[in-house]
């Protein structure tokens, strides 16, 4: 019990080791390869997304630049195509505004501002004629440069807008042509840049003020400073920024308007890399699925391996026990031979002494004895029993001699008789009668006589065991088989207690025994099975509880020249193997 528990633990440990090694060997490379592939995929995908966004931002920057340039060109053209004094007339300015609006509806109004900041002429929807701009932040810059584009501001009208100014000189004084650009028209340019759920663009000035209206509220503190980071003066700036709340944003920025403005595209990484995340989830799912398959297959595989190892071990153990068993039989044989030899000599002496008495009884003086007849009868009995002893010892010796498994032509009937003679004593002791029905002139079989003897001894011993309590009859039949051509069938049947139906499928299994512990090894029938199988024969059993058991052994024979010559005529008409 303890041993079987140890071996169970041993196989369990083996199973565990195989399982671990296979799983490790298959999953570790899979994970390694997956991680490597994923890492490369991840970086190249990110690179691609960033490049795509950069390109998009660059395109929009160019569009915005173009928009501003167009507006500036239109204003410049307007200035150069008109006489300055004419521009000071509001009607002419209205006309010019209409022309500009014809070119682009983004122009809201036009105004002429003098050096002191007074708007001397105005054309547009607001009442801004004669308005004083001397406090306006843009006036100084507008007077200092030929052209100027302002940041977005509310101004006097209270609407977000920005202005484009062109400076001209007339009447020895500096004048400014001021055109207002509709914020919405400008804003649309940036608004169009929307990707995914969270990707949008906006424009910032150097002070960090929004020049366009972002679609969502943005905390200015969250936005990195792009001017500080653009040391390399590249066209596109890529920044990944993680917020304290854990949100990570991608910022793609490009500078506009002589670096005064920056066009910023912002998107959460989760949104930007959503395809990557999906791919990541899919990859993880595939890995998990593959892992489950690997583990399941490994479980099955390792269990199979261990079962096979277990079977091989059992077979090996069985073989070892078979060797031990044969060794035991051989030593029993040797012992039997030794005993037989030792008994043979005293028997010989007894027989000789009895013979001597017989000789003496022939003498005249003893012949007259009244007990002469009784002496003679007694001597005859000693002779008879001596011969019996001699027969027994000779059979024992012959059994012992046949322990070598060399294959030889064997007369089945002779072997049966020999084994029956050896078992006869035990049978008589248990009131069991052994009857034989042997068909004469059976062909010889090529088999080791010691092995065949072992088979028959086992079958007869099993039958004897089945009947040792109540006695009965063992019938041994040998004949040519009708069912199996080219085979001799030996039937050993008893009328003992029979074998329960549930046990029958297992009786040839090694180590299976119904005998009490220590009484049987459970090897007898499996050894029989092994021997019979080896020579190409077969064995079967049928049994009815309380009625009896019948073993049938089919052994292939070969036709010798001698057998062919003496083959009996009625052989083919023999009865079928089935006996009743």
């Amino acid at each position: 019990m303890k041993e079987s528990k140890t071996s169970y633990t041993r196989y369990q440990a083996l199973n565990r080791n195989i399982l671990f090694i296979i799983i490790f060997m298959s999953i570790a490379p899979m994970i390694f390869v997956s991680i490597t592939i994923f890492y490369h995929f991840h970086s190249s995908y990110k690179e691609k997304v960033n490049a795509h966004l950069g390109e998009l931002v660059l395109k929009h920057k160019q569009r915005i630049d173009l928009f501003l340039e167009e507006k500036l060109d239109a204003v410049t053209f307007l200035l150069h195509s008109s006489k300055p004094e004419k521009l000071l007339q509001e009607a002419a300015l209205e006309e010019k505004l209409a022309i500009l609006n014809g070119l682009s509806p983004a122009f809201v109004d036009l105004g002429i501002v003098n050096e002191s900041g007074l708007q001397v002429a105005y054309a547009g929807p607001f009442r801004l004629a004669k308005v004083q701009y001397n406090d306006a932040f843009w006036l100084e810059k507008a007077l200092a440069n030929d052209y100027y584009v302002s940041d977005v501001f509310l101004g006097l009208r209270g609407h977000p807008h920005f202005i484009i100014t062109t400076k001209f000189t007339w009447d020895s004084r500096s004048w400014i042509l001021r055109a207002t650009i509709d914020f919405n028209a400008f804003n649309t340019l940036v608004e169009n840049l929307r990707i995914g759920e969270t990707g949008f663009a906006f424009i910032l000035n150097r002070e960090g003020l929004f020049q366009t209206k972002p679609p969502v509220e943005i905390n200015k503190e969250q936005i990195p400073n792009f001017w500080d980071r653009n040391n390399n003066r590249t066209d596109i700036l890529n920044i990944e920024n993680t917020q304290p709340n854990g949100d990570t944003f991608i910022y793609v920025a490009s500078f506009l308007k002589n670096d005064d403005w920056v066009l910023v595209y912002r998107q959460t990484t989760r949104d930007a890399y959503s395809d990557l995340t999906r791919a990541q989830h899919l990859a993880i799912m595939i890995i998990i699925f593959a892992g489950i398959i690997i583990i399941t297959l490994t479980l099955i595989f390792s269990r199979r391996i261990v079962t096979r190892i277990k079977k091989t071990d059992t077979e090996k153990e069985f073989m070892n026990l078979q060797v031990i068993e044969s060794g035991k039989l051989a030593s029993i044989g040797e012992l039997a031979a030794g005993i037989a030899h030792e008994i043979n000599n005293p028997v010989a002496i007894m027989v000789e002494e009895a013979g001597w008495i017989g000789d003496l009884l022939e003498e005249d003086e003893l012949k007259s004895s009244s007990n002469l007849d009784e002496f003679k009868r007694s001597l005859e009995q000693i002779h008879t029993q001596g011969r019996r002893c001699k027969d027994i010892t000779h059979k024992l010796l012959s059994f012992a001699r046949k322990t070598d498994p060399s294959v030889d032509d064997l007369d089945v009937n002779a072997l049966i008789e020999e084994v029956v003679a050896l078992s006869a004593q035990m049978a008589r002791h248990s009131h069991i009668n052994i009857v034989t029905e042997l068909q004469h002139d059976l062909p010889p079989i090529s088999v080791s006589s010691s092995e065949m003897q072992q088979v028959l001894m086992n079958l007869i011993n099993n039958a004897l065991n089945a009947m040792e309590e109540n006695g009965g009859t063992i019938k041994i039949i040998s004949k040519l088989s009708k069912l199996e051509k080219g085979h001799i069938v030996i039937v050993v049947e008893d009328d003992g207690h029979g074998i329960p139906e549930s046990v029958i499928p297992r009786i040839f299994d090694p180590f299976f025994t119904t005998k009490p512990v220590g009484k049987g090894t459970g090897l007898g029938l499996s050894i029989c099975y092994g021997i019979i199988n080896k020579i190409g024969g077969k064995i079967d059993v049928s049994s009815v509880v309380d009625v009896g058991t019948r073993f049938r052994v089919w052994l292939p024979y070969h036709i010798t020249d001698h057998y062919r010559d003496t083959k009996p005529a009625d052989q083919e008409t023999g009865e079928a193997d089935k006996t009743n």
Binding site: A340, H341, N345, A348, I349, E352, G355, A400
Partner: protein
């Protein structure tokens, strides 16, 4: 025909004793030896031994060795092997080495007597032939 002079060799003293009494009663002249070396010594001392009944299994020099020596030194002496069944191959080997026959112990006295008689007859015949051959040779030389 005079009864044969027989040497019985066996380590079982009671067996020899019983057998020799029975053979003596049947007019044989019996000498006993209890081992192989004993037998060889007796054969060396006595030239008249005709038949040796030799047990196969003996301590010391066993039956086969004794047989080989006998056949080498005294080729005309006939040897009958006595054996148990277990050593029957040895007895057959003995036949090959020149033993007259072998008998299984215990054996019927009649069979033993007849074998001994046959063996001594053959020995005498061989001796006779040898003597005749010698006489012929001497006669031829004189002629």
């Amino acid at each position: 025909m005079n009864s044969a002079i027989v040497l019985i060799v066996d380590d079982e003293i009671p067996f020899i004793q019983a057998l020799s009494k029975r053979l003596k009663k049947r007019e044989f002249s019996i000498t006993e030896a209890f081992s192989g070396s004993d037998a060889l010594r007796i054969l060396n001392e006595r030239q008249d031994i005709e038949v040796v009944l030799l047990d196969v299994k003996m301590p010391g020099i066993d039956g086969i060795e004794t047989l080989q020596t006998i056949k080498q030194k005294y080729p005309l002496v006939e040897v009958i092997m006595l054996t148990g069944h277990g050593t029957i191959e040895t007895a057959i080997e003995g036949m090959k080495l020149g033993a007259f026959d072998y008998l299984l112990k215990p054996c019927e006295i009649e069979i033993l007597v007849s074998k001994v008689n046959e063996a001594s007859a053959r020995k005498r015949m061989h001796e006779k032939k040898i003597i005749e051959a010698r006489i012929n040779r001497i006669t031829k030389k004189r002629v």
